[in-house]
Amino acid sequence: MNRKLSDRLHSFPKDYQLNEETKILIETALQEEINNKGKKKKRQGFKVFLKKLTVPVAGVAVLALASLLFVATDSFNLFHVSNQPDDSMSATGGQQELVKVHEELEELSTIWANALKLRDGKPRYQMLSETAKEKFIQEQVISSGENGNYTIGVSSPWVVDFDIEVEGMNANIIYTTQTSEPAYYHTKETITFIKENDKLVVKDFQLIYEDRLYNKNFKSSISFPAFPIPTEAERIESSEDGQETFLYNVLGTNGGIQEEYNVMIESWGWQLKEELQRDNYYVFEKEGQYIEMTIQSSNEEDFFTIKKYENK
């Protein structure tokens, strides 16, 4: 009977279609969303950049005058783009220049990041300051010997993507790397620019962290950024003390937390306090911080809550 009923369900019609007019309307809405996202991203990037430079820009006028009497600094040179000090005080001229610099920094950072993707250090070398060139050569010798031939990076994990955020004269780059397993990792690098001989160059480059296990199925909790949450989990409630409730079934087939989620929690540095666990209640600890997780599952709805664990 089940088979017959199942076949009957399969035979239900499902050929209803969106009419052309509706399709066009949805596509237009989607296109608007795409355009808005692009604009928003650019605006946000520039907003952060301006914010970082609010004090330097305000100080430019003073510095410009002072520079006539004292030795100019590298960072001053960047803003002192014209021979006329008054130009740097003009709002429009100043903003236009900032936009130009911001765009140039984004462009240079992209070349920098792409060089790692291609494992070709030549473009990087060309944009380094004199002192940074020495650092680059030293690193080449350490990683590849005297005849490094500008090869950078490693064969695995390899760079599959990168995100760049320019903040003031710094660019933060997060590389997504992959191994053949496949497993994904994040590596963060910060590069600092200065203006040397009227040209933007990389003054320094620092590795912030390397090869952190990464999985697109997880994101940071808002209240506890160091704690992972499944990306698809919908946050339905939050309170001032940081408690967050998510609509999502985190239970795995064995009744405990899903294996993938468990691995991710552990790889983010959290350890299960086994002595405190009971049924669907878990406590995790990381560097003295405690978080408790309560899982509720019923036929109608599955959700879980995380909050700061208070030693009761």
């Binding site: 089940n2 009957r8 969106l18 809405a29 969303e33 994101k219 079934n249």
Partner: protein
């Protein structure tokens, strides 16, 4: 292929599939706005899409979440409106049964599915009506394939009990 091209391609490939799913799942015919919401939400979250899974099942997961949200909202709205029911002018609204021209037996089956608990409705619509494989259904519901198979069989059983067997009508 960049995000924009990808989402546009997915729209062409799966929008009708998602439309049919949403109609059966919500029991409403006017779900075009929900289809739009699925794609806008998908585009906003495209960076979270795991390239190892299939776009179709990912879109269905989003569609199901949106449908559940919508049904919750609708329920609240209905409860509110019931208080003022005598002021309302009732319009005849088309149902999935009308647009698909379901036979009497299929109408009964579909209406009965709508009365079952959510987990049964999920699998009967996805695996049954939408003919998704157990693997696809498992991906959408974030269950194991085994749970899908077991719940599907239980759902069929529950459905059979409620309707009391199939007539010979084809």
């Amino acid at each position: 292929m960049d995000d924009k091209q990808e989402i546009t391609e997915w729209f062409h490939d799966y929008s009708d599939d998602i439309l049919n799913f949403l109609i059966y799942y919500t029991g409403r015919v006017d779900v075009e706005d929900l289809v739009q919401e699925v794609y806008i939400r998908a585009f906003r979250r495209i960076h979270t899409f795991n390239r190892l899974s299939r776009p179709k099942t990912w879109l269905f997961t989003i569609a199901r979440n949106i449908a559940i949200d919508e049904m919750r909202k609708e329920k609240k709205e209905k409860d509110k409106q019931q208080k003022f029911a005598h002021y309302q002018v009732h319009h005849e609204i088309k149902s999935p049964e009308d647009i698909y021209r379901l036979t009497e037996t299929n109408k009964e089956i579909y209406q009965t599915i709508q009365t079952l608990k959510q987990s049964y409705r999920d699998v009967l619509i996805l695996k049954g009506i939408k003919e998704m494989s157990s693997k696809e259904t498992a991906e959408i519901l974030n269950w194991s394939e085994n749970k899908v198979r077991v719940t599907y069989n239980r759902g069929l059983k529950a459905l059979e009990n409620r309707i009391g067997g199939l007539s010979d009508e084809s």
